[in-house]
Each structure stands twice: as structure tokens, then as C-alpha cells.
């Protein structure tokens, strides 16, 4: 490993760690930054004084701010994320871990759907530049960006589950693999659209480079030319855009879980919202934010793998 690469890795890791610390601190401070007493939000303003006092000490709001922060940080560091209000015997982390596989599967499946649709479409649109394929792909991309996922979900249900009766309805057994398809399309549509655009633009740009001409002149077969020479060089801008969209993917799972009545971190989050179960809300928010930071870190590290030029600079 070169010294430059080590330095790049360390700097990137340090920045991610600082951001994670910032996320934890901000989640802690939210309770204090927001005007009004969180106790009113949880209990309503008619609650008995002894209930308020009990909750205040359960939330540790009776302690000085630095002590609260230390206790909060300790809960994060020992991995328990504190205790739920509504189910006092449950640690927040165990509640989250129970439903995390559903959300992870959905997010991963959405990413796969988006990549499987957008890469071929984008490459096709670029190779057949200005053809009907290109126009069709552009139109699809525009639609994918424009249709909000809160509407796309119901539309997909109406078409595929109600009219065509091909796929399971919302609320059906969520562990069936087919039940994952419509939610994944709902979450992945926007990403598909953005990636199709980006793939098309990046491949068009790479195909006009001199080295593609040189490779073609050497007699590299078209397929190898496209995949080994063009797509690999186009991957970097595609990955950058994909990384920027990961946040949309994660928050999209919250919406898809509500539409398709699936268990998951999003459902837990919304349930906790309505119960005003503040520790669970905090835990879910922290989990999503930290995953987002780590995913971005992963993408940054992948740059170095995909493109050796990043390692050297």
C-alpha cells in the first residue's frame, strides 16, 4: 500500500468519524434545541405532576446537560441506545435489530433493481445516441424523477397487485421474495431515473475519447470495448451520483414500508413517532444517519478500487 493511499484512507476515516460524532451530538441536542417541553409532546399538557417527574427522570432531563450528554454517549457506545419508553424492558438496539433485516433487504433490493435497469438502459441510450431508444430512456428517466414515491407505490399496487393480480398485496406475508419487488421498485425508481441519465451522459462522453478510437482501431471487439473500456471509465461519475442518492434510498424505505405495510426500521420509526417514544426515534434516526455516513465512506473507498488515478492523487 502506497503512502498516499494510506493517508487518503486515514483522512477519509477521520472525517467519517467526526461526522458520526456530530450526528450523535445533534441527535442528543435535538431534544434541547426544539422550543417547548418534550414532556408536553409525550404526555400532553394535562398530565399529573408525578407522571411528569417520573418521565423527566427516566429521560434524564433532571440532570445537568453535560451529565445527560455523557449518559447518552455511554448508551451509544455500549450499543444499547438506551431503553424504549413504551416497552421499558426493551433496549432500543434490540428493537431495531429485530426489524433491520427487512429494511436492509429492501434497500439492497432497491439498489439492485436500480442498477439492473439503469446501466443497460443508459448504455443503450448512449450507444444508440439520438435514436428512439435514447428518447425512450430519457422519457422514462424524466418520469422516474417526477413521480413521487408516495404516488408510485399506490400506482404499482393498483396495476400489479389489484388489476393484474401478479404480485402480493400490501400487508401480505412480507418474507416472500416476490413481496419485495413492488416496494423495491417504489424506492428504486428515482435512483433508476437519475442513474440512467448519468450513465448515458458518462458513456457518451467516454465514447468520444481518443483512447476509445485507438482501441477500436486496434480491433477490440465492440462488446469488450463497451464494457472493459467505456463503462469502467464511466463508472466513477455514476458512482458519485449513486452515492448522492443513497440518502433518498434510505428515506424511501420509510415511505415504502408504510405503503406496503412492511415491518422495518421505517415502520418502527413512524410507530415510535406516534407513540412519542423519543429514545426509539433517536435510535432510528441515528442508525439511518450513521449508515448513510458509512455507505458514503464505502463508496469513497471504492473509488480507489475502480480508478487507480484516485489512489495516486
Amino acid at each position: 500500500m502506497s503512502r498516499g493511499l494510506t493517508r487518503y484512507l486515514l483522512l477519509r476515516l477521520a472525517r467519517a468519524a467526526a461526522t458520526v460524532w456530530g450526528v450523535v451530538t445533534l441527535v442528543f441536542l435535538l431534544v434541547h434545541l426544539i422550543p417547548g417541553d418534550p414532556l408536553d409532546a409525550i404526555l400532553g399538557d394535562q398530565a399529573a405532576p408525578e407522571d411528569r417527574a417520573a418521565l423527566r427522570s427516566a429521560l434524564r432531563l433532571d440532570r445537568p446537560l453535560p451529565a445527560q450528554y455523557l449518559a447518552f454517549a455511554a448508551d451509544v457506545l455500549d450499543g444499547s441506545l438506551g431503553h424504549s419508553f413504551r416497552q421499558r424492558d426493551r433496549e432500543v438496539a434490540s428493537l431495531v435489530v429485530d426489524v433491520l433485516p427487512y429494511t436492509a433487504a429492501l434497500a439492497l433490493c432497491s439498489l439492485c433493481v436500480a442498477l439492473a435497469l439503469s446501466l443497460p438502459l443508459g448504455v443503450l441510450a448512449a450507444v444508440r445516441h439520438r435514436s428512439a431508444w435514447d428518447k425512450g430512456a430519457s422519457l422514462l428517466a424524466l418520469l422516474g424523477v417526477a413521480i413521487p414515491n408516495i404516488w408510485l407505490g399506490p400506482l404499482l399496487v393498483l396495476t400489479f397487485a389489484v388489476q393484474l393480480r401478479l404480485l402480493p398485496l400490501p400487508g401480505d406475508d412480507a418474507s416472500r421474495p416476490l413481496a419485495l419487488l413492488l416496494p423495491a421498485l417504489t424506492v428504486g425508481a428515482a435512483l433508476t431515473a437519475v442513474l440512467t441519465r448519468q450513465t448515458r451522459a458518462a458513456v457518451i462522453e467516454v465514447l468520444s475519447e481518443q483512447y476509445i478510437l485507438a482501441a477500436r482501431a486496434r480491433g477490440v471487439p465492440p462488446f469488450a470495448l463497451l464494457f472493459r473500456h467505456a463503462l469502467r471509465n464511466a463508472l466513477l461519475p455514476i458512482m458519485t451520483v449513486a452515492a448522492a442518492q443513497l440518502g433518498g434510498l434510505l428515506s424511501g424505505t420509510v415511505i415504502a414500508e408504510k405503503i406496503f405495510e412492511r415491518p422495518g426500521v421505517g415502520s418502527l420509526f413512524l410507530e415510535a413517532f406516534f407513540d412519542r417514544d423519543i429514545p426509539v426515534v433517536q435510535g432510528c434516526v441515528m442508525l439511518v444517519a450513521v449508515s448513510y455516513v458509512l455507505l458514503n465512506l464505502l463508496v469513497d473507498l471504492l473509488y480507489g478500487v475502480v480508478d487507480p488515478r484516485v489512489r495516486l492523487s
Binding site: R15, A18, T19, G22, V23, T25, L26, V27, L30, V31, I34, G36, P38, D40, A41, G44, D45, V145, A146, I147, P148, I150, W151, G153, P154, L155, V157, L158, V162, R197, R200, A201, I204, L246, G247, G248, L249, L250, S251, G252, V254, I255, K258, I259, F269, L270, A272, F273, F274, R276, I278, V281, Q282, V285, V288, A289, V290, Y292, V293
Partner: protein, 289 residues
């Protein structure tokens, strides 16, 4: 020669007279936001139990939803709510974001470090997650709370743009001249830096208005909205619940949201083409982004 010049003016005049579809949608949205509640044939909560989930009729032009509430009236009142939330949250985001970003970009050093670090942390909360977490801590979320919650994440985009612009402007000769003439930092920022970054801010602001309409709809759809009687997202949620039997409610509410958001995005593209001459050279302005 003269004739073609005249023709050019005429053509330009005509292009100005017929705004592109995106701008039309935005204008219609603004008009409905202002006049909608006055135009609405019914109150947004007026129930008519005999006509629940009716298809469009002469009495109810777009049909009815839960309890026979008139869909058109809900949409018209909802336009006001969406407009209020969008204008409030984008306005606040632009003000706060531009101020912080310009300060960070112009001063650099420690200011930049703090503002950029804070922006990084806020940006780590994807989509509506931070907004929901904020609303969870409020007893009864109202329009103001939703505006504040959306601005809590919305300012970052404008801060990043303003920072980049301010870093470029800092090095220009007219800013250096102002500095040499002894102008104060506040004066330079307000009179020389801020006016010159308006273009990209306006472009992003236009698209962000569409994003805010969508965010309000999404929050209401999830049941976390400002709890007003009429909201597009809440109507879509109601419609989704009865999707199997009465799909028209969800279809109408959903397409209203989609067309509005698309309109603001197209208007943002249009604003970019008009305000940023560089992007006009590209054949397809969307590729340039």
C-alpha cells in the same frame, strides 16, 4: 436585414409570451395558492355522507373522498397549505443558508470549518428523517413547525452553493477594490458578494420549492403533517387506503402532486437556461447537471 431583426424580436416576444409548461404549472399553482380557498365550492371538511367516494359529478367536479368530502375543495385548500410551507421553508432556507455559506466561503479558515462541518452532519440525515425527528418532539405540529423542520435540513443546499460562489467572488477584482477602499466585511458581503450569487440561488430555489411541496405532501401522507383540514398528501393517504374500491381519489391527489413537483423542476431548468448562459451551449441542459 431589418426584416429579420424585426422577425427576431417578434419571435423572442412570442417566446416570452407563451411560457414553457413548467412555468405555466408554477403560475397556476401560485394562483391557486392565493385564490384557492376562495374558489373552493365547499369547505375542506364539509361532509356529505350520501355521496361518499362518489365519482366526478356536476356537484363534485373531481368526486368525493372519505365522508363525502369534496376532492376539488381539498385540493384547492391544500394548494394554500403547500404554498405556505414551500414559500416559508425555502425562504428561510435561502436566507439562513446563503448567509452562512457566504460567510464561510468569504472568510474561510475556522468559520468555513465550523459551517462546513455542521453542514456535513446535517446532510448525514437523509431525506425527511431529520424533519420527522424534529416534529416528534413537538406537541401539536403546526404549519410553522413543519416550516422550521424542513428548513433545518433545507439550508445546507444553499449554504453549499453560496460558499462555492463566495470563494470565487472573494478573488475577484471588484471585491479586492472594495476591500482596499476600506469597505467593511458586512458591506462587501451584502453589496458585492450576495447580489452576484443570486443566479444559482434562484435556480436552486425554484427546484427546491417543488421539493418542499413534495416534502409537505410526504409528511402529510405519513400522517406527520401540520394537521390542517386539507392537504394533498393526506388526501393521497386516504385515497391509498381505499385504493382497491375507489382508485380515483388517490389518482387525482397523486397526479396533482406529481404535476406540481415536475412543473417546479422544469421551471428550475428553465430558470437555469435563462440565467446561466453557459448551460445554454449544451445540447441537453439536463446532461450538464
Amino acid at each position: 436585414m431589418k426584416r429579420s431583426a424585426l422577425l427576431q424580436v417578434l419571435q423572442r416576444g412570442r417566446r416570452f409570451a407563451v411560457p414553457p409548461p413548467g412555468v405555466c404549472v408554477v403560475l397556476v399553482f401560485c394562483a391557486l395558492g392565493l385564490l384557492g380557498p376562495a374558489l373552493a365550492p365547499y369547505a375542506p371538511a364539509a361532509i356529505d355522507l350520501r355521496a361518499e367516494y362518489a365519482l366526478p359529478t356536476a356537484l363534485h367536479w373531481l368526486g368525493t373522498a372519505d365522508n363525502g368530502v369534496d376532492v376539488l375543495s381539498v385540493l384547492l385548500h391544500g394548494a394554500r397549505l403547500a404554498g405556505e410551507v414551500a414559500l416559508g421553508s425555502v425562504g428561510l432556507s435561502v436566507l439562513v443558508g446563503t448567509a452562512l455559506g457566504a460567510l464561510a466561503g468569504y472568510r474561510g479558515g475556522r468559520t468555513d470549518y465550523v459551517v462546513s462541518g455542521f453542514a456535513d452532519v446535517v446532510q448525514a440525515f437523509p431525506g425527511i428523517v431529520l424533519n420527522v425527528a424534529i416534529l416528534a418532539l413537538v406537541a401539536r405540529p403546526g404549519v410553522l413547525h413543519v416550516v422550521l423542520a424542513l428548513s433545518a435540513s433545507g439550508w445546507v443546499l444553499f449554504a453549499r452553493i453560496a460558499r462555492a460562489q463566495a470563494m470565487l467572488l472573494r478573488e475577484t477584482e471588484f471585491v479586492a477594490a472594495a476591500r482596499l477602499l476600506g469597505a467593511s466585511q458586512a458591506h462587501i458581503l451584502l453589496r458585492h458578494v450576495a447580489p452576484n450569487m443570486l443566479g444559482p440561488i434562484v435556480v436552486q430555489g425554484t427546484a427546491a420549492l417543488g421539493g418542499a411541496v413534495l416534502a409537505e405532501s410526504t409528511l402529510s401522507f405519513l400522517g406527520l403533517g401540520p394537521g390542517a383540514a386539507a392537504s394533498w398528501g393526506a388526501l393521497l393517504d386516504q385515497g391509498s387506503a381505499v385504493l382497491l374500491r375507489f382508485p380515483h381519489v388517490a389518482l387525482i391527489a397523486g397526479s396533482t402532486i406529481a404535476i406540481t413537483v415536475l412543473g417546479f423542476n422544469l421551471a428550475g431548468d428553465y430558470a437555469r437556461d435563462r440565467l446561466d448562459p453557459r448551460s445554454r451551449q449544451h445540447a441537453d441542459p439536463r446532461v450538464a447537471s
